[in-house]
């Protein structure tokens, strides 16, 4: 298959969020989509105790030719998909640079420190302001709320973000590629709702 040339090779993408948000599933779906297209993909994960409310990251390395380390070097991310807003800031501080782009879900997940009143959670405006200061381009969508409203399950927010990612054209992702990938890992009756989520995501880019 003729692979499209990537904007960067390797293309370094980080999916970040809080343990339990579905980080790993999202990275696997995305990784499989790109792998099927013939790209060489490496994914690095943070598992284990971080699931109990801790910060998590998936590092995706996408290349036309070589396999790269499962950890992206500091300051070398090209795209950050944040399932949680403050995690975007945290990841940008370590892996960001002037050219990085950020796709951010706006629904906060409060840490125990915040809900117990010890820490303050920043406002949405502030988070967007900082993300804009630290990136070349950014998109903010409330995927979780949309998923809760339309599909009664926040997990579809992650699929919406994948759709939105496709919509940014940063990576050569296609609707057909997503459908093929999702059909392999989901029972047939679940494919439709995932496609709806994907399409909704593209639409939310605005």
């Amino acid at each position: 298959m003729d692979k499209q040339k990537l904007k960067y090779d390797p293309y370094n993408l980080i999916i970040t969020g809080v343990g339990g948000q579905g980080n790993v599933m999202a990275s696997r779906v995305l990784g499989n989509m790109l792998s099927k297209m013939g790209y060489t993909v490496t994914i690095g994960e943070t598992f284990g105790a971080s699931q109990r409310g801790g910060s998590v990251m998936s590092h995706l390395r996408i290349s036309s030719s070589d396999a790269f380390s499962p950890q992206i070097a500091k300051g070398r991310a090209h795209m950050i998909i944040a399932l949680e807003p403050t995690e975007a800031i945290r990841v940008l501080a370590q892996y960001g640079n002037a050219d990085v782009k950020v796709l951010c879900n706006t629904r906060p997940i409060y840490s125990v420190g915040v809900i117990s009143g010890e820490q303050k959670y920043p406002s949405q405006e502030d988070v967007e302001k900082w993300v804009n200061e630290l990136s070349a381009q950014s998109w903010f969508i409330n995927a979780t709320d949309e998923a809760m409203a339309k599909m009664k399950n926040p997990i579809f927010g992650n699929i919406m973000l994948l759709g939105a990612l496709a919509g940014t054209n940063e990576l050569p992702l296609s609707r057909e590629g997503f459908e093929e990938t999702i059909s392999e890992s989901m029972p047939a009756d679940k494919v439709g709702i995932n496609m709806t989520a994907y399409d909704t995501g593209i639409g939310m880019l605005g």
């Binding site: 994914i43 950890q71 300051g75 403050t86």
Partner: protein, 645 residues
Amino acid sequence: MTNIAEHDKNARHLLMGNEAIARGALEAGVAVAAGYPGTPSSEIIENLASVSGKRDLYVEWSTNEKVAMEVAAAASFAELRTMCVLKQNGVNVASDFFLHLAGSGTRGGMVIIPCEDPGALSSINEGDSRHFSRMLEVPLIEPGDFQEAKDMTKWAFELSEELRCPVMLRSVTRLSHASGNVVFGDLPEVDHKARFQHDGFILDPDTGIMCSAPVDYRHGLQQEKIKKAEEIFETSPFNTYTGPEKPELLVITSSACNLYTREAVLLLGAEDKVGILKLGTTWPLPPKLLEKHLAMTDKIMIVEEVIPFLEENVKILAAELAGTIGPKTFYGKRDGSIPSTNELNPDLVVAPIATVLGMTYEGVPAAYTEKALPLAFFNAPSRDLTFCPGCPHRASFWNIHNVLSLDNRNGFVCGDIGCYSMAMLPTGFSTLRTMHAMGSGTGIASGFGQLGRFGMDQPVMAVSGDSTFFHSVMPALVNAVHHKADITLVVLDNGGTAMTGFQSHPGLEIDAQGGDAKKLDIRKICESMDILVRESDPFDFEKTQQQMFDLMEIKEGVKVLILKQACALSPEKKHTKKFEMKVVEDACRGENCGCNRLCTRIFRCPGLVWDAEKGTSKIDDAICTGCGVCADVCPVGAIDRKEVA
């Protein structure tokens, strides 16, 4: 999960390292796989269990790693290909048997697969099992990427049969839990036939007895096997060299560090200056291969994680070869070039290489860091580890903490390994005061329970999970009973091995393959030891605390309190809500004297949120799992609990 049992030869898949290892084992025609859950190893057994029907496999979650290795060894003695899967701690648990197995040798190929955790991402240690290979004199091989994870696993069984000894194949978190592209090989037809031949001449490796004695003879055989492995390793395709013929710097590396090193060289643009010798066979080191590469340059860097195992072994060889290769300058852990603790990453490998070559490198651009770091530090609230909403452990430790505080004699709890280990932290009210290995809580308590004779009058408690109880608490419990230690063991029975992904254990009626298994009853086992046993639901504060007081009042012997309540993530509970919870705002005392936010400041269930504007707590319906317990935490009854129809 990718279907690792598809025939699909030559197809390219995106696989997790553990899936690749499982696939490699299937391609080798493995028959038996045994292990104990331990992050980052567990997915290997889970993947094999899911295809065990299709591929004529027996897959077992054994009671502990020593038993797992023994179970696997039996299959090897019966001429089947077999494997034992564990994390670094598990090798320690199995080590006594491992020592003797190295002596007795094996028949069917046997591969022992430790998946280790440098940087302790999911452990409370970063132990390094590579030493066992040298210590016990068994070959050690380490995949350096995902394709090798599959290919080397398949090869490991062949190697084990050629040498007639177990082979250690070591992985790490950043391979086991990372994913990469793997091309599938052939899946053989399987028709396993087990037969243990034992009535031949006693020293015959195929038909004699399996034993590590006579020791001198067997030990001699072991060393011959290691010598043979050396020869085989000289030409192994898993030892690769990339780089110029005469590099300025030679980097010797293995495992996931191979990936970091390659990336580091690329980032520096130093491909023409740096040669990378990636070793897949790390014990014994093939001397001729090392000699050839060590001769290339005077500057040698060894990149590895945790203990300088590879570095020291290379240096020993270099000393022996000094006559031919000349003196070298070594860079590694011993001279501080590579950090001595924690895992590595590309940046940590870039830095020493750049230093040696006199190059500069900027990770995150300085101007960017200046802006970004303070923003993150001050504004992204740190995420403390916490028990899940509805977790029975939060309730159990609430009860224990209250009772020990009221008792007021500076009592303490010896902790153990599992989700409940987090009770060292505020999420469990900092209740645990010692924490070591599986079963150590009861073992240490058994020791403390003897110190009354030296004036210690502090109440001694231990905690154990249900899986941990079978793993290694039982022998410690027997010790405590036999020696009449004055201790109370609280067994936190949440119905599964939760921390590692809710695997089964001997207390449940199902096994790794989802089939019927015989369930052992913890209460009956304790009663058979003549222990005074009580049971309670940790969500019932009053009853549980009364039970604890009653048991602590009995001054002699071992007491066991079993706190039974299913894990919030267990299949029976997930996505169900027993109660609808609501904070009655008018009744909530909030920050005032008389409460000071007991529920959100101290109890800290993620489902309880402090609303600073209203000055009251509130329930987050999206997170609350409806366990109902916070209604009893509130000192003024301001939390309503209503049963869901």
